[in-house]
């Protein structure tokens, strides 16, 4: 197969189609709009459903309906839209419904701006809405990785009956890179015997519900969810190790920030500084063991984010005091420069005070 040049946002759409998703509900917001544009054209070609909802609140509840009816379904938005969806996402988790939610993050808080940012890490990985829950959160760094992760996103969400978040930023959504799409394959989907799609001869109704009026039942539900999360934590962590050989300085970054860090690591190595990078691909479950391992033989850990420092808290928990954890970030839509990250690495290498 030959490569084609594709935008990140479009790759999310094509990846979803190839993963067997035939239902999309969404509301326009920059910088993810190319995704609905793409699917508005693409869904009819595969007899799928594309519907522009009246709000993000409606989008996520349409997702709830389609997911409960047993369909592979996706919605997408950017930061403020995700805030609006949080109640619905909590209901999806409570009713154990699979779906894929895309967040192409932008600068915040408030209306913020449309520039790339990573300020929604907490919202994505710590629950985000009300109640005790987690979203499996995937953070690709390239257009090709988007294509590669979309099928996984839908499979994980079906397998564990939990929403999956695909978390990117404006750079990832807007950039074009060559991708190899591969052949379109038949998608094997698990049968959803729990779906409320009309009884059709079943003698007991299926009910899609997140109401557990008795506290004992609700606690049971929470324990069931967390048993599932323990299994996911054990099995589903994804990460990339970059130049970690004998790394004295271990960088931790995801998505666009990780790409910038790779450049900085390369330049540091050219200067004889042993720097390396751990790039979490699943932000939840967080590859804490990998970071702990890398930190155990390092002098310093440097977390780089396009935020005021969110993932750094998980990095500190993972490192657990075995070496100092530093942070460098830009926020509000500002993107770190390779030279800035390199300067941070050089300061640490010199043993200087940051």
């Amino acid at each position: 197969m030959s490569k084609i040049l594709m935008k990140g946002n479009e790759a999310i759409g094509e990846g979803a189609i190839r993963a067997g998703c035939r239902h999309f509900f969404g509301y326009p917001i920059t910088p993810q709009s190319e995704l609905p544009h793409y699917l508005a054209k693409r869904m009819p070609e595969v007899n799928g459903v594309f519907l522009q909802a009246e709000s993000e609140v409606s989008s996520i509840n349409m997702v709830y309906g389609a997911a409960g009816a047993g369909k592979r379904v996706m919605t997408s938005s950017s930061s403020p839209g995700l805030s609006l969806m949080q109640e619905g996402i909590s209901y999806l988790v409570g009713a154990e419904l699979p779906c894929v939610v895309v967040n192409i993050m932008r600068g915040g808080p408030g209306l913020g701006n449309i520039a790339p940012a990573q300020g929604d890490y907490f919202q994505s990985t710590k629950g985000g809405g009300h109640g005790d829950y987690k979203l499996i959160t995937l953070a690709p760094e390239s257009v090709q990785e988007i294509i590669d992760l979309m099928a996984k996103a839908f499979d994980l969400s079906d397998q564990y009956r939990n929403p999956v978040m695909l978390l990117g930023d404006g750079v990832l959504g807007q950039m074009m890179e060559p991708v190899e799409l591969g052949d379109i394959k038949d998608v094997k989907q698990t049968e959803k015997t729990w779906a409320a799609s009309g009884m059709k001869g079943r003698n007991k109704p299926n009910i899609i519900n997140s109401l557990y009026i008795q506290p004992e039942d609700c606690e049971d539900m929470n324990e069931k969810l967390f048993a599932k999360y323990a299994e996911i934590s054990g099995k589903e962590k994804l990460w990339e190790e970059y130049q970690l050989d004998e790394a004295d300085i271990v960088l931790v970054a995801y998505g666009t920030a990780a790409r910038i860090c790779k450049s900085a690591v390369d330049k540091a190595r050219e200067k004889g500084i042993k720097a390396g990078l751990v790039r979490p691909i699943t932000l939840w479950p967080f590859p804490d063991n990998v970071i702990a391992d890398a930190a155990s033989s390092a002098n310093n850990v440097l977390t780089v984010e396009m935020s005021m420092g969110q993932m750094v808290e998980d990095v500190r928990l993972a490192v657990n005091g075995t070496c100092p954890v530093h942070f460098y970030g830009r926020s509000g839509g500002m993107v770190p420069l390779v030279s800035d990250v390199l300067a941070e690495i050089e300061k640490l290498a010199a043993g200087g005070d940051r």
């Binding site: 609140v57 509840n61 709830y64 389609a66 409960g68 799609s197 009309g198």
Partner: protein, 249 residues
Amino acid sequence: MMKKIFTRPKALTESPFHYCPGCSHGIVHRLVAEVIDELGVADDTVGVCPVGCAVFAYNYFNVDMFQASHGRAPAVATGIKRSLPDRIVFTYQGDGDLASIGTAEIVHAVARSEKFTSIFINNAVYGMTGGQMAPTTLIGQKTTTTPAGRDQEETGFPIKMSEMLSTLDGAAYVARVSVHSPQHIVKAKKAIKKAFEIQMSGKGFAMVEVLSICPTNWGMSPSESLKWLEENMIPYYPLGVYKEPAEVK
């Protein structure tokens, strides 16, 4: 031999209703279930219940059911119907759910002429949360958040949803009925049946607004409540068909 002249509709489960004495929900649940039975569509029907007193409706309807977040039943129903166009989908919503927090969802479901049916219970008060003012509470009506009676200077005017939604081109059928007397219950059932039939014929969105009583939160006996509905609600919320397809007329 004795002839059985009254029985539980098949589209209702054996679960006893939790509703207060005199509440209209039981009557309307039964009417919806009878219609599902008569149309023979229980196997193909998916219902969506709201947040409010009818939140447990999934325990009562003997069909596949969803419980939706507050006000979002029309969005959930949209997701279901767009996924399963050959199924019969209905929402069952109260006045706080449909006419307050869920106004955007119902308006746009109607505007898109989504092919599902909404049963809208208007009893002019919030029930489950403790008798607060609803968007349909009448001027002068006392509630726990309008203890001196609803004053339009403070809280504005009640919303007439049937009139409002019938102005939208996407509305195929909109009717307001009441269940305060046996004759009205018969008429209400006919309207509900028509609303399901219109969905099945693919003509578009259909809604039946059902004027209902809430003796508990109105602070009246059931019989006083029936009289209050007739004397106060019907003059403000006139009964009738507000929209129907031309060919059905």
